[in-house]
Amino acid sequence: MPVKDYLRLRFFPHLWCAGCGHGTIMASLIQAIEELNLLKNNVVIVSGIGCSSRLPGYLDFHTLHSLHGRALAFATGIKMARPELTVIVPMGDGDASAIGGNHLIHAARRNIDLTAVVLNNSIYGMTGGQNSPTTPLEARSTTTPQGNIDPAFDLVELAKGAGASFVARSTAYHAAELKQMLMKGISHRGFSFVEAVSGCPTYYGRRNKLGSGVDLMRMFKDRTVPMGSEKKKNDPSLIERGIFVEKTRPSYTDQYRYVTQGDCKDS
């Protein structure tokens, strides 16, 4: 099916700004679902609040636009109630790692079979460009007019530390690579965490004099490297892309059978 067959065209035009990276990430997600041959009726998309969280409304699946930071908690209820459904959870960086940080680490700890996709543009875009937990040091935002003094989260390290069994990162520029990672993440049995680096020219780019959406895309191309690359050894400021964790660990919905059928010590 063409990408448009997965869209609710009734609800277009979308609200994303010109140059926003979220659209290409949504396209990568649609292509991943398409190539996995998932049935529309078996896919649930759950989001929180923010620019990225408007994504589910545009998609022709079962879609839940929930509360700021709480998408993984809503998704946990859906997955536990109907384990056979594929549940994908797009979130923003503030959504996932500030207000929703607690739910993120506990979903990773449980290894519940959800795919979290963090569209990380390092800013609160919907509210007009405030500092988020992934805003780099010294960056300008409306709440860091003197430059940011809060150290940023490395979301990949956060997910790894919390126990996610699949952890990957790519960018809006690397659309084909991101699609592959999303396919692997969705197919992975357990908690999958995919960081999709996105650009916000309207607030982050403009305030930090980084140029247009095209310039941000160029930055993703030039300032990121595949995991383990030689370039990274020479320039540690480059950001690695790739699949950082892919391991087999019992998923929460699989483990739940011990709760319904007996005792986990019998396993």
């Binding site: 009726n41 649930v44 589910p56 509360l67 709480r70 908690a73 209820g77 536990m80 109630a81 109907r82």
Partner: protein, 380 residues
Amino acid sequence: MSGTLRFIQGNEAVVEGALYAGLGFYAGYPITPSTEITELLAERLPKRGGTFIQMEDEIASMCSIIGASLTGKKVMTATSGPGFSLMQEAIGYAVMAEVPCVVVNVQRSGPSTGLPTAVAQGDVMQARWGTHGDHAIIALTASNLQDVFKLTIEAFNMAETYRTPVILLLDEVVGHMREKVIIPNEGEFVVQRLITSVPEGTDYHPYLAREDGRLPMSDFGGVHRYNVTGLVHDMWGFPSNDPTVAYNLLRHLVDKIEKRSHEIARYQEHRIEDADILIVSYGSSARSALHMIEKGRDSGIRIGLLELNTIWPFPYEVVRRAAERTEIVLVVEMNMGQVYQEVRRAVKTDRVYLVNRFDGVFISHNDIEKTLNVVMGRGV
């Protein structure tokens, strides 16, 4: 009523009621004095093929039951004061997105951590207005364990009928006391979810109410794919900034409950036919009020009790009628007058008196008798 006779705790009566009503998904977080509900369901719900999960906090508990409800399960969470505060945002979500769910609040003394093991009824107004924005809500309560069992089932029934969160507003005394309860054999009092008859391939409008105001549901994972949001939304469930859409939605959310308050009102009258003095009470306070009625009648005082099982929407008409022939109304509750103010709004007489405690000690018939003596001109 035929069934099994049990001697159980109030929190266990909630569990029995929920299982009887067909509970399919429960999420909780430990908090006194409601923890037994979570503990008992951890053991019993999985054995019935249901799902139990202990979440990382009360916010997550509330959010996860909303998610599970959308897949077609009957859902519940239970908590107490501080946890109830944490749930408020998501309760508003369930109001806005019209997702059936039951929230049990076994009240303890507050504000804040308060007296965690002591009784209070201080969350009456929080149940009504705890989440932000104009909205309607259903809150039920009970004073004895047979009623706790029954009202728990009613809470599920009303949640499904009106597509709304229902608050079961118990208190520490009712939650922890033990009493006999008859658990009936059959599920005859149980309302099932109204599912849409729109066939696959035909447009289903999740937020288009029928003529009777009800909105048939379709499960996530089923044949109809639709959007659910906490934003103001149109009949498709898609966000809208249209003032007409916003007006109609808020009107619908409030009217579907407030205009049916006569259907939702549950109450019990004890000897009010010839009463000169009316007591209005609810929850465990109503036990002491009932004790006072018996004692007062023995000494020739014509006194009656209106026990409220529905707190919200407040049954103004029921209270007004019950107080029609009485000069004196006493409101007995364990807070600083939360239902008292509603009773004053409902009745004509100015002689409405509050009998209360808020020090964590269970209110007794002696507390009521002291006030009664004063208002009857008998001195202290």
